[in-house]
Symmetry: C2
Subunit: 399 residues, 2 copies
Amino acid sequence: MDRGGVTYPEGFVASGINCGIKKGKNDLSLIFSESECVAAGTFTTNQFKSYSLLISLKNIENPIRAILINSGNANACNGKENLENSKKIIIKLSEILGIPSNSILFASTGIIGKPLPYEKIINSLPELVEKLSTFSHTEAAMGIMTTDRKIKEFHINTGIIGRKKEVVIGGMAKGAGMVNPNMATMLAFITTDAVIHKDALKMALKDAVDDSFNMINIDNDTSTNDMVVCLANGLARNRRIHPDTPEYEKFAESLKEVCRQLARKIAEDGEGSDKLIEVVVKGGWCKKDVRRVAKKVAGSNLVKSAIAGNWLNWGRIISAIGSTNARIDLKKIEISINGIKIYKGEPLNFPEKEVEESLKRKVVRIEIDLKRGKFETISWGCDLTEEYVRINRGETDDS
Amino acid sequence: MDRGGVTYPEGFVASGINCGIKKGKNDLSLIFSESECVAAGTFTTNQFKSYSLLISLKNIENPIRAILINSGNANACNGKENLENSKKIIIKLSEILGIPSNSILFASTGIIGKPLPYEKIINSLPELVEKLSTFSHTEAAMGIMTTDRKIKEFHINTGIIGRKKEVVIGGMAKGAGMVNPNMATMLAFITTDAVIHKDALKMALKDAVDDSFNMINIDNDTSTNDMVVCLANGLARNRRIHPDTPEYEKFAESLKEVCRQLARKIAEDGEGSDKLIEVVVKGGWCKKDVRRVAKKVAGSNLVKSAIAGNWLNWGRIISAIGSTNARIDLKKIEISINGIKIYKGEPLNFPEKEVEESLKRKVVRIEIDLKRGKFETISWGCDLTEEYVRINRGETDDS
């Protein structure tokens, strides 16, 4: 039992328990910092927002001490009395923890439109607080899962040395059921012991999310509950990080790596998926162009289902690329699958059997060079299987 | 054997045969008009365009006499020599028909990246021309099918009386395999005996396509081959139709009805689908808002797979609506499923069992009132089934 995930940084503890929303699985998690945190968050752009998320939106500018998360119920579109009940839960938690109620964030994930099991949650708060520990990060990561099959945690050392210790970052996430297009909930909670200016943290998080979680989504199709939050409690006692400094670059790169690793885990664990599809796009005229193409290819149902069947239908990749308005040199564009070049302005003679065989791998890598500039990016998707459809027909109890 | 489809209007004949691209199924079709036609077309916005489509794009401004269509091969991204071969096919056809080669349009649908079976097509042209008749419209409609399970034809009388006869419109279409998001090819060919100004025809077709075929697509995700063409040969001898006249309104409405019926048939016949999902959006602040919401809901994988499983997960509908930036009165918005109101600013008490039972119908109707204005529209999608995934894994030979 090591430190890791959200309790990897100094001064953070966590817990996860079953409060009775789901059968026999963790469904309630808590992250707590022993001192006040600077916080930054990116929240769903969906017009219907869960009541939990609305509370977090209101509190995110305050010094933050704790994050409460439940799974099994989205607390969205379920009637106004649930906002009142949510507030009562937060007040109760603040009393038990002895912190201001406006220093708590709240997140939910699960089915939309059902009353929040208010009593189950509120009655379990004492146990949840009692179980807080530096070793319970995985219990907490389990409490936020819905149809996820794997626990998603990651931590990293930044190389920034503070007066007390090296600055580190840790995090946990739950997958969008669907990943792409993403309308199931994606949650990520990241902690760090860095001393950092709030604006620097906001900027670093936005940039990291754009190059990670947003690369497994499509066109801002976010659910009612999507949320990525980063808390910095300053316990490493490093010199405060400001934008445009070498320390900022180090911190921002490490934060991006945490987000990318968590995003990759989400894609890998897409509902009913067997494979990870990694789409690298190079040679773009601008950042937008490469992001657009990468997301379009990784998100194409036709590409995803062909890859599920180990079917080398590369025309679908071409069609997906061309359907964007990204700048492309049509006469020079290059496409490789698993390292073998198959297209260069026109189809190449390539070993079809070998490429087809390589589609059976657990990670299928598609590389596209637009031949128009210097920008590049990476996006992840998963294959589209019959199992995916089975899950989303409603034949499993979780969602 | 009646007239119908593309040969319903005066002076049009058609044929469809097997030329050997596919096994035992029609794969080559021809539409021919006994006199010159004014033509209008909407073509794919995909940056990779099939060579057949490029020829049509070049000729569409000329007086048109014929349209040649093959299925089983997309004639796209397959190397430049295929452009030369395509031109030879068109020249040969023009010689047999005794018409200028620049009065012929060409369309293809099928797998991308394979050489066009040039000899099979060119050698079959004499038979194709020989079989032209007013009664072979269904043979022609069969020749453009790929994974379509049903023939798609429709015709209508416009009520506009010409000196020779009433103006009528007929058409045939093939479905996008996938319908939504549409990256498989969608083709539609529409004929009329109207006398109409070219600009009026263009305007009416654009408007009709926006309210029909484009409502079963998403975000201009068109394939390399998508094409909708309308030919008007003027044989009804009506007074020439100009924009902003009562005759124009009649013609435009009839044309839109033909397009809508064909679009509905395409959605109904989506690959592996069991049900038609009809999404009516009302109360929109503008046309764009209602179109956006309708397409988003009809195109949501989560909505589609829930409906496949007769699962009343209406939260997914809410989430899809909210993920658009359409203007919505969140406190008044109403949602009905199969005529039963389930949401009005918040969830209503409704007979859940009854609504769930109604999801088993072959047509599931979702009505959404945004409560912000007067605009409304309708979009169609199909449910997402395991069969869909099976087809797109490549376990059928057609695509």
